[in-house]
Amino acid sequence: MYRFEVRIGHAGFRVGSPWRRPIDTLRRLYAGYPTPEEGIATLTARIAPPKPWRRWLRPQAAIAGDHCLPDMVPMALRHALLALEMAMNMQVALGERRYLLIHAAAVERGGKALILPGESGSGKSTLAALLGEAGWRVLADEFVLIDLATLCVLPFPRPISLKNDAIAEMQACVADESRFGPVLTGTPKGALRHLRPQADAIARMNESAMPALILFPAFGFPSDSAGVSRSELFARLTEGSTNYIALGQRAFEAMLRIVDTIPAARFAYPDSAAGLAIVEQFCIEIGL
């Protein structure tokens, strides 16, 4: 078993693979990340051949680890990096019981966090990646972790997974080629490439930020914006949380405070330039 240990925010991962190359790729992608606190990784994510012969014969990688969903479809070995990233996601999505999880991207400026929830395809990852190159600090791409007592966003700065057209777009604005992972073509999500956030985002992964604004992006429509009611905000945030129910009353109370105190809106945008302009306009209005 080849292994790699890494700390991302509060979480220490041990990642394992019976094949060497996926671990080497992962190590390059996570260059500059620290090792787990006190050397203790508390979450295990791994890939494994679904049947013994699948290690060599038309090799396939199945997702496994401490926390796992049954009936996950194994992937071709050339997509092993995606399988490992999904295995790591699974540990957080199913195992996190300290912080409230929100399915969103998040960025920070001046100590204040902007949260971008949304379904895949809404453009939240691309927007977060673009903002990360425009003076903002990337806090999270997939999972926003909220402290139940303070409502602070805890950074979880994983590499951002860019899909399809977003890959070329980010390649055009990030000069450092070493921040990109390999291009994975023909995955269930299409073409996919990971982008490591700027060194600053990794160095400051212990610095949390108070949420100041929640924006729901919708990519591919004419520019428009509208408010989001407190009840809709509550419904959409809880719907996208994998641990809201398990955290019980504390999560309910935290969620109520979020919808009562943090302004939220939705906006549509036809392209990245328009999207960034709308985000900046919202930020000016609330003084972020």
Binding site: G12, E38, T42, T44, A64, D66, R97, A246, L247
Partner: protein, 344 residues
Amino acid sequence: MKHALPLAHALADPISALSLGPGQWTELLAIARAERLDGSLAYRLADLPIPGPAAQALDGARAQAEFDRTRLLWEVEMARRALNAVDIAPILLKGSAFAFAGLPAAVGRSAGDLDILIAHDRLDAAEAALLDAGFEWATSDSYDQSYYRRWMHELPPLIHKDRGTMIDVHHSIVPLTARRTPDAGALIAASIDIAPGLAILSPADMIVHAACHLLADGDLSGGLRNLWDIDRLLRLFAAAPNFWRTLSERAALHHMREPVARALRLAERLFATPVELRLAGHDRMVDSLYSRRLLARDGWGRPTRPLSRLAFYARSHWIRMPPTMLARHLWTKARRKRMSLSRY
């Protein structure tokens, strides 16, 4: 770690965890989660000065266990309301009994399904009441349905359509086709009312059922957790006068002397549970085959010892039904698998 023994040690003797190195903590957590004993471990190590990251991970396991307990107790209440309406007072089994009665086996125990025992002649009424209360069959396959109804000790599993929780309604504790035939009537007659409309098994029967669940009804998967239940229960029950004599009598009554004795020996072997030697008997050579199977898990949380697993899997079928019936059962299952594969 090549096996789960460090987990057994950490549960039985929490101080032993203080000498673990960083890599060993990672392995212990992976094994505990794979055996679904992370919640139990969390409570056992709660007051010890263990490293920060491990303590935080175990805090999470405690939060999960607390949530499981709340949900399970709510399911108990839902089942009570549905069944009391048709004059059935369900006997809670396993996790729900431990949680409702506040037994030490419930501390940190991860719980999923609700298991209850009712008299065989009230099965139809119970089924109708649960269907009426919003439960639905988990399987609509006609072979599964008729198999359960004809041969099993429980109804086919029911899942609630809104809450997504599962209930297993038992009328005995081993399949009707099994080699051993516990006396379901005696279990019910000796049960103890614990709240209006709810009962639990008597302490001795609870041990018989736990031993039965561990050794006479399955392939020992999840066995370490079942054995940990037995350890926790025995340490409490053994304080009562005459407990061991009663256990001996009940084990004989249910034709479960041998599984009970073996369960006691395995608990003593892995968790240093104090047991009565006369009832447990002396170590047997084959006991080590059982303990090897119970500990077959490596430091990545992966199942190991495939031959041992396969042997116990085969044994689980062998003890549950006579050979000709087993052949027919496997034939039907294999044909169904082929048919479902050919559809793709």
